[in-house]
Symmetry: C2
Subunit: 484 residues, 2 copies
């Protein structure tokens, strides 16, 4: 793989021949814009290319493979871990022009899309038929389906409906040598050969470029209720959450929000939420109103018995929408607070077994504190064990401390809880240092699988610990806010 940029005219001319001049850019300002995503990392591409179809992609990949030019596929750039950046330079493939819905098949409950379609746009179209693609990440309004598939995105509905992986029936992808493979089947069940579909799900653009996605879709639930319960401590809220799961009901969402997260949410709302020290936001949904209501009453009762200080149930769709939009924007808001004294440089995205959530909520905060974190913000999809922590550190002088904090948390999650270093954000660069910790010798086999598809290592290099293990989670930091 080339780490030195070829002449820009050479790139511009060759890519222009494939996609036309209007869909290639080597403009400095634009290259800078694409050098950032929603993470704390930076990596500038040598050129930006916007393919419109599979045939163009075949030509682009063959050219880049011959020339050993890194290829970095990108959807909306909402990734928190640096997987949408050109960390080793190369071409940035902006996939957003490939955004067609190719087929909506209600009889089969499937939809076939190109990767560049935005999640909310797809669901808008599906809603016309009374259907939806349930996984709903925080970036629902802007993220692309291709990005969701490449990161196995989760979100607030995973507790009941599962994650992106559970909905992908098949894929079409272009490989570096120009081969076009089709994976999966239109049959809902298949036991035919290795599961290449799920190998590509979560592969973060390191194997090839996805050009078509077949997804399962589900009827939209007819009835929805939400509840906010305020608790004295995170452990109380965690216990209530575990208790709700054990009681046999499956909420369609169950979010934990601490006082700092609440503070980041409320300023955007016309009617502030009644949030306190530790809060649960719970949603139930379904086709039968009685059941949705009964489930919500049961959830409320469990919260009451677990010592909730205040409980508010709402059936108002407008209020509900506002509440989830505020929750969706939490990470973005926290990142924006960088300049205001609170510097949440690491958004940690750990997952632990459900039964150990209350214990982990306390311990992870303690571990972070002990390692020197001055302020820790906690929130997460508590119903599926996904705990987010935002750590405030000053990266211009505290990189070592930051790494120590992150490593302490990850070691606890893996060694004590047998959890995961990333439940839904993906590995990217931020979590790459911890891949050996979670996967041990299995990581070698992941690297070898990458070589099967991408022998020259041109596909999104520098992430997931497949080609190198970064020592620090704070590498490739944006220059203007410090770091290497």
């Amino acid at each position: 793989m080339s780490s030195k940029a070829p002449d820009q005219n050479f790139l511009f001319e060759n890519f222009s021949k494939i996609v036309g001049k209007d869909d290639v850019s080597v403009d400095e300002t634009e290259l800078f814009a694409y050098s950032l995503d929603a993470s704390n990392h930076q990596g500038e591409p040598w050129a930006i290319v916007r393919p419109e179809n599979r045939d163009e992609l075949v030509q682009i990949l063959k050219f880049c493979n011959e020339q050993r030019i890194p290829v970095n596929p990108r959807g909306a750039g909402t990734s928190f871990a640096g997987q949408a950046l050109a960390l080793k330079g190369g071409v940035m493939l902006d996939m957003r022009k490939m955004n067609r819905i190719k087929e909506i098949n209600i009889g089969d409950r499937t939809v076939v899309v190109e990767p560049g379609i935005v999640y909310s746009k797809l669901n808008e179209e599906l809603a016309k038929y009374g259907y939806s693609f349930p996984p709903e990440p925080g970036s629902a309004m802007s993220c692309t389906i291709g990005g969701m598939v490449s990161n196995n995105a989760g979100g607030i509905r995973a507790i009941k409906y599962g994650v992106t992986r559970d909905f992908v029936m098949g894929l079409e992808a272009v490989l570096p040598n120009g081969d076009v493979i089709r994976t999966g089947s239109r049959s809902i069940k298949t036991s035919s050969g290795y599961d290449l579909t799920r190998l590509f799900v979560g592969s973060e653009g390191t194997l090839g470029v996805i050009t078509e996605i077949t997804l399962k879709i589900l009827p939209k639930p007819k009835h929805v209720q939400v509840l906010i319960a305020v608790f004295k401590t995170a452990v109380d809220a965690g216990k209530a959450a575990s208790q709700i799961i054990n009681s046999g009901i499956t909420p369609s969402a169950m979010e934990f929000v601490d006082q700092f997260t609440a503070a980041a949410m409320n300023p955007g709302l016309s009617k502030p939420l009644p949030l306190g020290e530790a809060n649960l936001m719970i949603e139930t949904d379904g086709t039968e109103e009685d059941i949705v209501k009964a489930e919500m009453e049961k959830a409320a009762k469990v919260c009451q018995e677990s010592g909730a200080l205040e409980i508010k149930v709402s059936q108002d769709p407008e209020e509900r929408l506002q509440m989830w939009r505020a929750r969706d924007s939490v990470t973005t808001r926290l990142m924006q607070l960088r300049g205001e004294g609170m510097v949440p440089y690491a958004i940690v995205d750990t997952g632990v077994p459900i039964s150990r959530v209350p214990e982990a909520l306390r311990e992870l905060k303690d571990v972070a504190k002990k390692a020197g974190a001055p302020l820790i913000v906690m929130f997460g999809h508590i119903g599926d064990g996904n705990i987010h922590l935002a750590l405030s550190i000053d990266p211009t002088k505290e990189l070592e401390k930051g790494d120590k904090i992150a490593r302490s948390i990850m070691e606890t999650v893996i060694n004590k809880y047998r959890g995961t270093i990333t439940a839904e954000h993906g590995v990217g660069l931020s979590k790459a240092p911890f891949m050996p910790l979670e996967h041990g010798v299995a990581l070698n086999y992941m690297s070898k699988i990458k070589k099967v598809f991408d022998p020259n290592g041109i596909m999104n290099p520098g992430i997931m610990g497949l080609d190198e293990i970064p020592q620090s989670t704070f590498t490739h930091m944006p220059k203007k806010i410090g770091g290497s």
Copy 2:
């Protein structure tokens, strides 16, 4: 890979050193017994070894890898496609001594087992806690969890609860070089690295030997109802099935059974089922009795409106059990009919998109007839598009015709319906000729992935079209019933 057997004493002595003399056999009668599974193929091992733990397996695999001896892992040998046979000789690994339940964790809704535990035994233990592992293949009473994972087994509950793949959270496996890898996480959500768990699910023992499985489990439904509806034609039954799915209810089972299948089922029952030309067996389940009953009433109404000649609803657990046991035994019974004039040599296991089931039921039968099949038996998990056909041919003189029939069916399923050559039985040897048809160039990448884990090709060679594509689906036939 060696295709010539080493001296038997050499094998016996070396394996005895690892597992002890009692767990090695080179006895001729036993080798013959292990040369068969539930398929129409035969492959005799050179030795049988019964490992008791992971450490023994590490030594066995290292020895076989050095000596280039094929390694064939086997559970209960209930496979229909020849994947539990020693097609290239080598050692047969009988995994049934590794059958411990290592952990039942109700709080996390997970169970950790060794691969040799039998499905029904596991569910018996889980039932003590009010839980179950829902996928229920026809071989539920004897098949092992390791076999289910290796074939991504489906079964009658897949329509509502999903297939084995949907329940596997993590695995431990020993690779040919002795490496022990751990895949997945105890966190219910993870986006960390390539999904090696689901790569191993359905890999039919061609990558390594699974030594530990972590499964999701679910609370057992409290209420169950069943219904049998008799229709005039298969297309009527298929339409009713599609209609039921579209009506918004999700039965926990929906089976199609034709008149021949019914004839194979009824002799085993004390109280014969009211089965006719074309029948649907439908089950609803859940935690709330009212809903289970309401769903069943809705299903019955749809059957009525779709022209059912007779409908019988039952709430009697004994009747229900007998009915499903009879359904479970259908394939075995059909195979036993070999000697009685009806010779169902090929159990076809295709899957098509749900909306096209009625059309496919008619067309697949027509295609088979046109290709020369004298008698076609049809049954299947119609709610998820899984159609089984049993073809009666005389393999001593009709191999070419048999291949022609099988290929006509597979080409229709893939080219017209974009379905799958195997929805739940696995590829093995029987479906290996059709792997290029379904997967095209993607099959090359499956072969290359196999080489990553098994560079010497010792793991269960000769199946899945990974090392060679057999021309005929009737290769390696048992000598006593003809074939090559």
